[in-house]
């Protein structure tokens, strides 16, 4: 029972987080988790902050869905880092989510204007 609860909760966050991550990964190739997190924060002018606790499960889920691809690289300081990049399926997904987002925000805006 608790299992399906976790799943449900994550699903409700999914919409915007997936979109943001996919967008960031599509702009710059081969980013590791920390860089993705910083990029979202930076590009949103510090408005949006992604928690580490939601970022990694989301990354792994999207990897499992085949939208992003992960790879271990060795950095100059010798440490290994796991970097992500967009797959063709992810690109398609990004398009869908983006148009979905536009539709929803446009609709919300219309409602706000009408009201």
């Amino acid at each position: 029972m608790s299992m399906s609860l976790t799943v449900a909760k994550r699903d409700s966050l999914q919409g915007s987080l997936d979109l943001l991550v996919l967008k960031v990964v599509s702009r710059r190739r081969r980013l590791h988790g920390y860089a993705i997190m910083s990029a979202i924060q930076e590009m949103s002018g510090d408005v949006l902050r992604v928690e580490e606790g939601s970022l990694y499960p989301a990354l792994h889920r999207m990897e499992a869905a085949g939208w992003i691809r992960a790879e271990w690289i060795r950095k100059e300081n010798g440490r290994r880092a796991r970097v992500y990049e967009l797959t063709p399926a992810g690109k398609k997904q990004l398009g869908l989510e983006e148009s979905g987002w536009q539709t929803v925000t446009a609709a919300v805006n219309r409602v706000l204007r009408e009201a």
């Binding site: 299992m3 799943v7 590791h32 928690e51 580490e52 499960p57 499992a64 880092a81 796991r82």
Partner: protein, 883 residues
Amino acid sequence: MALWARIRNVFRGDHLNREIDEELESHIQEAIEQGRDPVEVRRAFGSALRHREGSRDVKLVVWLESLRADAIFGWRQLGKTKVTSAAAILSLALAIGACMSAFRLIDALLLRPLPVANPERLYDLSRQGIGPDGKPHTFDEWAYPDFQLMRAAVKNHAELIAVSHAEPADLTYRSDQEIEKAYLQYVSGWMFSTLGVRPALGRLFSENDDLRPGGHPYAVISHNYWTHRFGQDRNVIGRTFHMGNELYEIAGVTQTPFTGTEPGTMVDIFVPTMMNPAVTRNDSTWHRTLAVMRPGAALEPIRHKLDATSRSFEEERAKGFLGISKEDLDHWLNQTVLLEPAANGVSDLQSETQRPLAILGVLVALVLLVACANVANLMTAQASARTREMAVRVSIGGGQGRLVQLVLVQSAWLALLAAAVGGLFAWWSGPFVVSMINPPDNPARLRLPADWRVLGFALALALGVTLLFGLVPALRASSVNPVSALKGGDHPHSKRRLMHMLVAVQVAFCFLVVFVAGLFVTTFKRLSYQPTGFSADQVLVLDTVARNPQPMEFWDQAAEHLRSLPGVDTAAMADAPLLGGSSWNNFVSVNGGISNGILSYMRGVSPGWLEAMKIELKDGRDFRPSDTDPGSALVNETFAKVYFEGVDPVGKAFDLATDEGARLRYQIVGLVRDVRYRNLREPILPQFYVPFHSIDASGALRKKARATLFVRTSVAPRSLASVLRQEVPRARPEFRVSRIRTQLEINRSHTVRERLLATLTLFFAIVALLLAGVGLYGVLHYSVLQRRREIGIRISVGAQAGGIARLVTADVFSMVLFGSAAGVGLGMMSVLLIASLFYQVKATDLQMLAIPALAILAGALLAALRPILHAVRIDPASMLRAE
């Protein structure tokens, strides 16, 4: 690949944990380098463990969760399309069942290790050299004195075991009136302990039970025989039976799984080798030799020792050879001993059926592929009906892998259900096929256990089949473009192209199966109808035995008595029937010279035997009652060709050499037509017949304990069988009939393999045709449904029925042609491997290619009929209104 990665994750938990930990640690280090406070970063992260679990959840639990959901959804989906699902399951079940029963058979006969201790250390000894016919030849029978020498030579490295061929023996438990048959095998006393076989009751033999010739009249019976003959009666120990002159006492019962070392034969009774009358003879090869290597023993040095021992034995023996050419002698002595692994036993049935079974296995696999193509087409058609559902799933965020999984799970349902039904089919058909290997008179007896091997095979098959027919439709379905699909337009052409490709594949395999079946059926027909030189119709063959050798006049009286019975045309005697499996040969020398190295085959026959068998006498006369062996002989045409350059040999003479070094002279009194002696395939052998009355060195008539009586009847031969069984002891109370066969049954036993191949390949051909027909029908039906709008418009603007039929079938029929062409290619390649099993039939015969071509064409037309009618009858008005 995403799916594969997840499946891998399930099995690589630890590795996964390490990877996740490393990634999180690398994140923290990165944050610290960017100038964040280490303590704050770690706190923000919370417990690393919690994240790891969270991430793992995503990878594992979500997958399992989704699998469960897909399984339920897939099951409901099957229920929604009951008819298609049932068709798919049944066609797949038939193919899977055929595969499983083929596997059971192949496994039981060829693959399964014997139920003994360390079967991997078991080897079979054989000799390889140039045979008397000048061709390479391998032989795995041995003379016992040779065996004893070899056993002593390798005593420290391997244990040798002698086992005779298990053969039906005549024995009686109470009175002579009740002769029964049991499979009897002579075995070394130490066999049971060496193979680790333990008694279920009483005691098994030991070394001490196998010391003196004729000195150990004890028997061990198999668990199976104990159950069937004695109902597991524990008082069986100590019971006695008569066999020949000897009274044997039952000493023990073996444990369940052990039924001897010959797959295909279950031994009922084991007796010590020392009880075999041939045990002291140098010139009689009658048993196999098995070697059990001691742990760590090297093979080659042992083989070398065996080779040297056997060679010196034969060199010693060859000093007594007479009338054999130098070349033949060299061939004889230059044989090499081979040690071949025998973990799964050694039997004639194995070597005879190895290739036929392999061929059947391949054909069965082809039928399975045809069925898979069928189901794949069905699934593709079904998936296209679900394009909208797939599109919705994609647009709400179902990843590609997830959709592949969904369709695959549904395929797995089909495959599992089909495997279950197929398992039932295999359970029924396995023993049925075994019963076909041999005629009912001498059935192959094979354990067909259904255990983890069979279950494992079935599961692997179901899994493989799922991937085979499920993957392509699954990938297709998941690559759906949601935008265009939801708008209502899809791409029927690409889907049809895939289905057409599968039709071509199906037709190619189907063609191959039908083609090979045609070749085997023709082989069987040609072999069965080929002239034997004698008439087998209306002839009964009575194997007759007596407890002790009986004088010739008694035998003559018995034959005389049978001749007087109503329904009997004539009766005669011989030592054995033609084509009956026993062969007797010798080198012949003409004019006192040495032999030309060609073996001649012999048969002892009574006067009137030629008439009973309807063998034509070309010249000279039949035997008279006064003719004796040695003395007179009848020879066949091939004999005259081989030894007398084709000149009529009547009145001439030839000599035979005995092992004791004497020469026996025979006067040729008649020339007879060639007949089939050993089998139906080989070239006719040079043969001669000697009188059934044989005399010893002093000129006295020899007594005989067994003979074969031949009765030509004027009524159906089988109807006289029971009468004759009673009449023989009535003529002479000393005699018993131990076995009655018709000569026709004996002849047919030579086409068992061909009949098996012909029947089973024909069955598979019919199944393949049926499946391909159903598949074709499905594809045509689907394409008519898809194009009904177009067809409706065409009809409304005046298209003719012929044009519509062409439109609907053109693509598919070109695929049928393409598939058939590929089938011809496949057929031509594959027959190269199996040509040796054919008889008087060539793969390139036009007729052989015409059979599958016509069968497939007819099947295709039949399959196309309904979809064409459907297309032609589309009512444009109602069709366009509905749209």
